[in-house]
Symmetry: none
Subunit: 411 residues, 2 copies
């Protein structure tokens, strides 16, 4: 089974928004053995969309079409696909009732324009949308199964998983299974060197092994083609074992695991609670931790001590230190970590202080200088880092390095 | 002048890497009046690439081709483009010397495989690459100017700016200027209704006016085609004025302005400082605020009171309230906002408490229920919200609604 993906939108084609949907879908399709061989993106224009659809029909088993199902006059995908199929648009009365109900639930009448969201080409099958008002639809033409989904990310994903993925997983004869091992704390070249002999790329390598560096995290990626999950595992497990033997603690997680998830797992394993004292990250550490469902069992809270006064009042940092060692120093980081633990009764206290820029750097304390302290049961470890880049990059790297230190301190 | 962008790579078409190049180039092209109308992405396969090139020739003034110029056997763009042009690949001896020198500088001999990086189709013009070894090239066929650049981001960008952009800026007689107005606090359909008569889309509308909804923010987008910046402004300013008259406080910002930037601007205008008490957002509010350079003048700090104990100890919420009204209540939100202001001496205190899920919901207090309180100089406003979606969506909407309330309270 092979597939093409057609995304629609002026904002995409003009580059105002980066298309992440195509990559998401191609990756999900690969997991069930569907190979995507082309992405196409066109503007909100009936003729351009219809032409792209017509060109693509007959070329692939599956044609996924995304976006342009909203209620405004920019949203022209329904009309264009109907035109390409040579069918008229007809109203699905059941879906119209469903979207009326959604509006009524918010105390609103169904705006006339939203009625279009219940229209599909005659002969097509409506695909329900449990998160929004835009119905999707599917049809078959020239041997191609054509599936039209809204561009809203959550709706697109839910509908893809609800309506498309289950049938596809049953249909394919081989599947692609991807496994990723994430490393932090060493440069890509050093990790590359240690696993170079395992790396295979190209269409016929099985499993394929590659390396990807993204935002400081180095990911080793294995893709196995196999008849089923078990055969894939037989191919992947020895590779994963070899990588783990060679790279040890550099590997912090697998597949969807982030550094903060690695921290949460260590907290759970060691039955510890954690509290934060953030300065330069401004709340990012707490935000990332609280993206993890159920984290409230281990994460008690934190203090964003952005100003020096806050560091003193909320964390007990002696005010004279700002004159002597300065707010960005190992000593203040340590006092913040210990203060966070003490104030909240947590087993693990984390303190971070640094200069995210673009202002505030000096020759001795340049932009990107960050001190991280982790205090576990009264014992504190401090690290000094010098990051490069813009404000948001510095915050990101500082957050990752902090979680990495916490993880190591809880090993 | 119009353009198509063709990106090449297995990792792109299989979704292992998100294509950000197309958006980058389309945006840069728009600034010099070149309108991109199609993106296409195909795998590392000679026939697929050659076919895509052949199909696209004659359709546009400019065809940008990216990627597949490396030295490995996966890199097939040179061969494929030569095939599409019906030309053989020939070695550029000068460029071969240049890349030999690059290798020698690192104490290495030129690997045989890298010689391909100095080959271009006969009749094409070589484009130098000051950051890498892969030469680019350009040629004209069927009235289309075809430009081939490497996929390495830094090399692609440098070569685009060096070789392509200067000529294009001189050639174009018009430019495209985009302006965006961002709204929050009303559904897309209601905003649409209020500016419906202004909306014009399609290739010939000038300025084009459209609406985009993303993560709760409704954006009105104007694209003007004009001879120069001033002419563009003459077209855009009256439209912006009309939208502002009709939508008033619903509009929180323009172009790159986020809700948190709108808050920062109000704080600056009113000379106020702010402190946060976050529960369900877990630090997200602080993180977003501290992405703004220079925010330390207005943002003092915050408390992430994730546990009830933290709400009591750090913010002074009476512990018996957790039994009577519950942690997720207007009363607790108000106490948190007032506590945040009092503890840190800020003029504005913000409190937010809610249930982000996926656990912890009850019939009376379902997942997505959030109370937001903003206390300005002792006067507190509380809002109750019921959000839908996953944990991260609820956090995102809660954060946006909080900044929106702060903005309104500082109007």
């Amino acid at each position: 089974v092979n597939a093409q993906i057609l995304t629609i939108g002026d904002e995409l084609v003009l580059g105002q928004v980066v298309d992440t949907h195509s990559a998401y879908l191609a990756q999900r399709l690969a997991t069930v053995g569907v190979r995507t061989f082309r992405h196409l993106c066109v503007a909100d224009n009936v003729n351009a969309i219809a032409e792209a659809v017509q060109r693509s029909l007959g070329e692939s088993d599956l044609l996924l079409i995304l976006g342009g199902l909203g209620p405004t006059e920019d949203d022209l995908t329904r009309q264009a696909v109907a035109q390409a199929l040579g069918a008229e648009l007809i109203l699905d009365p059941e879906w119209k009732v469903r979207i009326e109900e959604r509006f009524h639930a918010r105390g609103l009448d169904l705006p006339e324009r939203n009625e279009i969201q219940a229209m599909i080409p005659r002969g097509a099958r409506l695909l329900t949308n449990r998160l929004g008002t835009a119905a999707g639809f599917e049809a078959t033409a020239n041997g191609t199964r054509l599936v039209v989904l809204p561009g809203v990310p959550s709706e697109m994903k839910a509908m893809f998983e609800d309506h498309l993925l289950p049938g596809l997983s049953e249909a394919g004869d081989t599947i692609f299974v991807t496994r990723r091992l994430h490393c932090f704390g060493a440069p890509e070249s050093s990790i590359h060197q240690q696993i170079e002999d395992l790396m295979k790329t190209g269409r016929h390598a099985n499993p394929q092994v590659g390396i990807l560096a993204q935002s400081g995290v180095i990911t080793i990626k294995f893709v196995a083609e196999a008849a089923n999950e078990i055969d894939a595992r037989v191919k992947l497990d020895p590779l994963e074992r070899t990588c783990r033997e060679r790279l040890g603690e550099l590997i912090f997680g697998r597949d969807g695991e982030t550094l903060e998830v690695a921290v949460a797992k260590r907290l759970e394993a060691r039955k510890k609670t954690l509290a934060l004292a953030e300065s330069c990250t401004g709340g990012l550490l707490g935000h990332l931790l609280t993206n993890i469902p159920g984290i409230s069992r281990f994460f008690l809270g934190g203090i964003v001590a952005y100003s020096n006064a806050a560091k003193t009042e909320l964390l007990g940092v002696p005010p004279e230190w700002f004159e002597t060692v300065g707010a960005v120093s190992a000593k203040v980081a340590q006092a913040m970590a210990e203060g966070a633990g003490r104030k909240s009764g947590a087993d693990v206290g984390v303190g971070i202080t640094g200069i995210a820029g673009p202002e505030g750097g000096t020759r001795e304390k340049p932009i990107g200088l960050v001190y991280i302290a982790v205090c576990v049961d009264g014992e504190t470890t401090v690290e000094r880092h010098q990051f490069r880049g813009m404000r948001e990059t510095i915050k990101d790297r500082a957050a990752k390095s902090t979680f990495n230190l916490v993880r190591k301190c809880l090993a």
